[in-house]
Each structure stands twice: as structure tokens, then as C-alpha cells.
């Protein structure tokens, strides 16, 4: 292998990028075969349904299905697969069953940003608050704050997030009537022009408040507990002792010697959290009628709208893969040991 190729092969970024596209490729292929080869093959189901409902011929029904799925059903399966992959690559996902004439890609463009917005902000807030609280109680362990936060964390991190959502709705929305949840369905305030106006921005925040609160409450406990653990482990490391012996200021030791090292192991969990939250969004968004991608997925499931379902699943997966990639890059920026491990 020429030297420059070998260098490329060892490049961390490039390797991760290739791995990412390989995974996406694989997932797209898997969904294709899942829909085509599964026992309850939805295309066959659709064709049979159309035949019995409207009395058209098999040929006609198949043509309809083919146009919805963007697949030529008469050609051999591998040709269909190549065709499908080509269309996926340019974002052509076909048309929705339940609202005919709507391209699936348009639905995704409409719904996905709201999920990324609400989940992204929640993860950010939860992570920041969680690591601060976790570090704080690691330093004050045994104190009353430690007892309160540890118990809170151990409870909230174990209760399924959709149950947290229902409880929030019951108590804040219905029993105490603090949050007017029926007005807050959807993602944006009605009658306000979208844009960077204060009213609009406040509106979208207000509409996302319950889902975000749910995400934050159900993830912050994990951050608190993990951060408390890693902080305590890091506090016992030799380099922290040496830093004290070097006479460094307590604040500098806490932030740069304990903090930076204690956060590192949390990044693997961060990756998992992104997947879990976006993955759990069908439940949360259904509960609050928040019109994000998860809501669209559970709707398409209820209506057995396969093209939409399949496309949204792909979208969710690809978002998670991108989030993984981003977290990996961030991690490699923060931990100098990663890059050299790859080249060694």
C-alpha cells in the first residue's frame, strides 16, 4: 500500500466516517428486506386489500403499490434493491398511504426538526445540570444534599420516561392545572408567524416544555449518579494527589484535574442517551401530542402506513448514527489517548 493510503487508513476521522456510512448502508438494506421478505409483507397486504376493496385486478393493484413504494415490483429482487438504494440516496421515499399525494420526505422535513430541537436541548440541559450536581455531591458526600439528590436520581432514572410523562401530565396538567396542556398540543403556537420573533420563540419553547421536562427528569438522575461515581474514582487518582502536592488551587484541581477526567467516561453514555431519547420519542410525543418524528411514527404505525413508517425508522436511525459520530468526535477531542490508540 502506498504511504499516503496507509496514512489515510489510519486516519481516525476517516475511519469513523466510513464506519458510519457502512452502518447506514446496512440499515437501509435491512429495512428494504424487512418490508419485502417479512411474513406479513406489507406490499402483498396492500395489494390484496386494494383488490378486495375496489375490485381492481392484481396487475392494477400492484402498479398502485409500486408507485407508492417507488419500487418496480416485477423486476428481480436485487434490481429492486439497487433501485431502492438509489432512490434512498437522493431522499426519495415514495408517498404516504394515509394521506395520498404527500411525499414522505416532506413529512420528515416537517416533523424531524421538532424532535431534534426538543431532544437536543433536553440532553444539553440535563447533561450540564447532571454533571454539576454529580460533582457537587461527590465532594459533599454524606451530606443532606447528597442524600436528597441521590435518592431523587435513583428513583427518576429507573422509572420509564413515558410514565414520567404521564405523571407530569396528570399532576401539572390536570390536577394542579399549572400547565394548560390542551392549548399546548402541537409544536408551535397557532396564529403566530414563524420567525425569530420573541413571541414565536417563546411559543415553541412553551409547546415543548412538557416533553423536554420529561426527557430532563428521566435522564438527569443517570448523569448525577454516574458523575458522582466517576468523580469519586478520579479524586483517588495519583495525579490529583500530585496536583495537590504541587500546591494547585482547589478550583483548578476540581475543574481541570478531577472534572475533565471524570466526564470522559460519560460520553459513551451520552451516545446511548441520544439513541434512547429519540427512540423513546414515539411514546413521549404521543402522550403530549407533540408533532415530532416520534409522533409521526406512532401515527403511521396506527394507520399501517408502511412507506412513512419505514422512512421514519430510517431517519431516526440515521439521526442516532450521526449523533454517535458527533459524540465520538467530541470524545476524541477531549481524550488525547483515543487518537494514538487508533494509530498504534
Amino acid at each position: 500500500m502506498p504511504a499516503f493510503l496507509r496514512r489515510l487508513a489510519k486516519n481516525f476521522l476517516l475511519r469513523r466516517l466510513l464506519a458510519m456510512f457502512a452502518t447506514i448502508f446496512l440499515v437501509v438494506t435491512l429495512t428494504f428486506f424487512m418490508v419485502r421478505l417479512m411474513p406479513g409483507n406489507p406490499i402483498e397486504v396492500y395489494i390484496n386489500q386494494q383488490m378486495s376493496l375496489t375490485g381492481i385486478s392484481y396487475q392494477e393493484a400492484q402498479n398502485q403499490a409500486a408507485s407508492l413504494y417507488n419500487i418496480d415490483l416485477t423486476s428481480p429482487i436485487w434490481v429492486q434493491w439497487v433501485d431502492y438504494m438509489k432512490k434512498m440516496a437522493v431522499g426519495d421515499f415514495g408517498y404516504s398511504f394515509s394521506s395520498p399525494g404527500t411525499p414522505v420526505i416532506k413529512m420528515i422535513v416537517d416533523y424531524l426538526p421538532w424532535t431534534i430541537f426538543s431532544v437536543g436541548i433536553s440532553i444539553f440541559i440535563s447533561f450540564i445540570l447532571g454533571i454539576f450536581m454529580g460533582m457537587y455531591i461527590a465532594y459533599k458526600r454524606g451530606g443532606w444534599m447528597d442524600h436528597i439528590l441521590s435518592s431523587f436520581a435513583s428513583i427518576t432514572s429507573s422509572v420509564p420516561n413515558y410514565l414520567v410523562g404521564i405523571l407530569l401530565l396528570i399532576f401539572f396538567g390536570v390536577q394542579l392545572r399549572i400547565i394548560p396542556f390542551s392549548v399546548m398540543r402541537g409544536t408551535a403556537p397557532a396564529g403566530v408567524e414563524p420567525g425569530f420573533s420573541l413571541e414565536y420563540l417563546w411559543g415553541i419553547f412553551a409547546h415543548a416544555i412538557l416533553p423536554m421536562l420529561t426527557y430532563i427528569i428521566s435522564t438527569i438522575g443517570g448523569w448525577i449518579l454516574t458523575m458522582k461515581n466517576t468523580t469519586m474514582t478520579t479524586m483517588g487518582e495519583d495525579y490529583v494527589l500530585v496536583a495537590k502536592a504541587r500546591g494547585l488551587k482547589e478550583s483548578r484541581i476540581i475543574v481541570h484535574y478531577v472534572g475533565r477526567n471524570a466526564i470522559l467516561p460519560l460520553f459513551t453514555t451520552l451516545v446511548m442517551q441520544v439513541g434512547l431519547l429519540i427512540g423513546g420519542s414515539p411514546l413521549i410525543e404521543t402522550i403530549f401530542v407533540y408533532k415530532g418524528i416520534g409522533y409521526a411514527l406512532s401515527n403511521s404505525l396506527a394507520q399501517r402506513d408502511y412507506p412513512v413508517m419505514q422512512a421514519i425508522f430510517l431517519c431516526i436511525t440515521i439521526s442516532v448514527i450521526f449523533a454517535n459520530f458527533a459524540a465520538d468526535l467530541l470524545y476524541s477531542k477531549l481524550d488525547p489517548r483515543i487518537k494514538s490508540n487508533v494509530t498504534e
Partner: protein, 283 residues
């Protein structure tokens, strides 16, 4: 570590202790309870959403039936799915992980690649899509599917444990003595991984509860009979959250499920400190 020592340490951790007894209590209630407390199936139109009384400690549901008896009868299926999923996924994970770590080479690389791909695909949406294609109308099928989707993280941990155990001196010695792979896996490696496997078993149990109740809540598994998940779904679709009187109807199943999840995780955390001496010293 002897069993006695483990019991000693559990006794020291009060939260883990409480978790263990809550877990035990819920399991007893769900498997033995139905033989003691009969399921109330009488519809009483005049007693809909009646407040809790001594005779009916959790009040009445949307058809005037005793909620407490429904809770007692609604646990068995939920817990069976959880336990079955835990057992199946632990078995798959253990065998694939140990095999992969032990054999190494190309097969190992391949298995770990599969694990990586599995880990990046968000599990719950995949489950949703699969539930739309496959009719999950019995708990065994559901458990099997959940297990197939939940083995990868444990398999990876088992593999890394095997890799670290493999290089330890006594395994080298066992290899020199030509004791065979079978002996090495079951007699040398398995006992070392016990704590690990138990904790992950509990973890996949709680994940199974999350997924199955979530699926039921979205109405994607046509299960019948008494089930905590179905109770939540019924209460939700009947709008029980909107009335003050019906609070117990929706809260009861939510609280038992939350309690189960909390107890399982609290117990596993205390096991973790037992099997990981480094944490023990720190806390």
C-alpha cells in the same frame, strides 16, 4: 466470594436491601397473589371510579371493578416477559460473547461488528416497526423478540470480560494443562463473570418492561387478559387522567411498574458495589 459474604454486604446496603424485598414482594404478589385474591370481574355501573375504601384499597375502575385485584392479576404476564427476556438475552449474550472473545480472529471481528450495528440502531423504534409487521399476540413471541433485540450490549461486556480473564495467569495455567475450552469457559471464566451476568440480567429485565409496556401503551401488541400495561393503556384511552376521581385507576399500574423498575435497579446497584470492590471502597 462466598454466598455468606455477599449476604453480609447486602445487609449493609439498606437501599439495595429494600430493593431486594420490594422485588421479592412484587414477584410473590404476581405469581402467588392470583391464587389468594380472585379477579373482580363484576361490572357495577353504580360504583364507577369509587374512592378507595378498606374493602377496595385502590378504589374502583371505569366499570366499577376492584382495582387492587386487577393489579394483583396484572403482574404475571409483565414479569414473565421480563424474566423470559432476561434469561434468553443473557443466554444468547453469554454464549456469543464468550465464544467471540475466546475464539478471536475474524469470527470475533464479525460478531463484534454485528453487535456494533445492533447497538447503533435505536431499539424501540425497530421494535415498533417489527410489531407492525409481526403480530405479537402472545407473551412468548414478545419475549423472544425482545431478547433478540437486547443481547448485544451484554455480549460485548462478556467478551471484554473474557478477554481480560483470558490473559490472567490461572487461565494460562489451565490452557497449559490442556483442560479444554469447555472446562475453561464453565469452570474458570463463568464463576468470574457471575456478578456481571446477574447485573446484566436485571438490566435486560427492566429494559424488557420498558419496551413491552411501551408497545402495549401504543396499542401495538394485541395481548389479552390482565396486564399492568393494558391497564395504563385502558385508563389512558378512556381519558381517566382527566377526572380527579379516576386518579387511582391510572396511578396504580404506573406506580407498581415504577416500583418494580426502581427495586430492580436499586438491587442491581447494590450488587454492583459488591462485585466491584473499587466502588465498595469509595462509598
Amino acid at each position: 466470594m462466598s454466598l455468606n459474604e455477599i449476604l453480609q454486604l447486602i445487609r449493609k446496603d439498606k437501599v439495595g436491601m429494600v430493593g431486594f424485598f420490594v422485588l421479592l414482594g412484587l414477584i410473590l404478589m404476581s405469581y402467588v397473589g392470583p391464587y389468594v385474591i380472585p379477579l373482580d370481574e363484576v361490572v357495577r355501573v353504580d360504583r364507577i371510579y369509587e374512592a378507595p375504601t378498606l374493602a377496595h384499597p385502590l378504589g374502583m375502575d371505569n366499570m366499577g371493578r376492584d382495582i387492587f385485584s386487577e393489579i394483583v392479576h396484572g403482574g404475571r404476564d409483565v414479569l414473565t416477559v421480563a424474566i423470559l427476556t432476561g434469561v434468553l438475552s443473557t443466554l444468547i449474550a453469554f454464549f456469543l460473547g464468550a465464544f467471540s472473545g475466546f475464539i478471536g480472529g475474524k469470527i470475533d471481528t464479525f460478531i463484534m461488528w454485528v453487535v456494533d450495528v445492533f447497538l447503533t440502531i435505536p431499539r424501540f423504534p425497530l421494535l415498533l416497526v417489527l410489531a407492525a409487521v409481526i403480530t405479537l399476540d402472545n407473551i412468548y413471541l414478545l419475549s423472544g423478540l425482545l431478547a433478540i433485540l437486547s443481547w448485544p450490549p451484554l455480549a460485548r461486556s462478556v467478551r471484554s470480560q473474557v478477554l481480560s480473564v483470558k490473559t490472567r495467569d490461572y487461565i494460562e495455567a489451565a490452557k497449559l494443562l490442556d483442560l479444554g475450552t469447555y472446562h475453561i469457559i464453565f469452570k474458570e471464566i463463568l464463576p468470574n463473570l457471575m456478578g456481571y451476568v446477574i447485573i446484566n440480567f436485571i438490566f435486560s429485565m427492566t429494559a424488557a418492561v420498558y419496551s413491552q409496556v411501551g408497545l402495549i401503551f401504543l396499542g401495538l401488541v394485541p395481548l389479552s387478559g390482565q396486564n399492568w400495561g393494558l391497564m395504563i393503556q385502558m385508563a389512558w384511552t378512556r381519558g381517566a387522567i382527566f377526572y380527579t376521581g379516576s386518579l387511582a385507576y391510572i396511578l396504580a399500574p404506573i406506580i407498581v411498574i415504577a416500583l418494580f423498575q426502581w427495586a430492580a435497579i436499586a438491587f442491581s446497584r447494590s450488587l454492583e458495589t459488591i462485585f466491584n470492590p473499587r466502588l465498595r471502597g469509595a462509598s
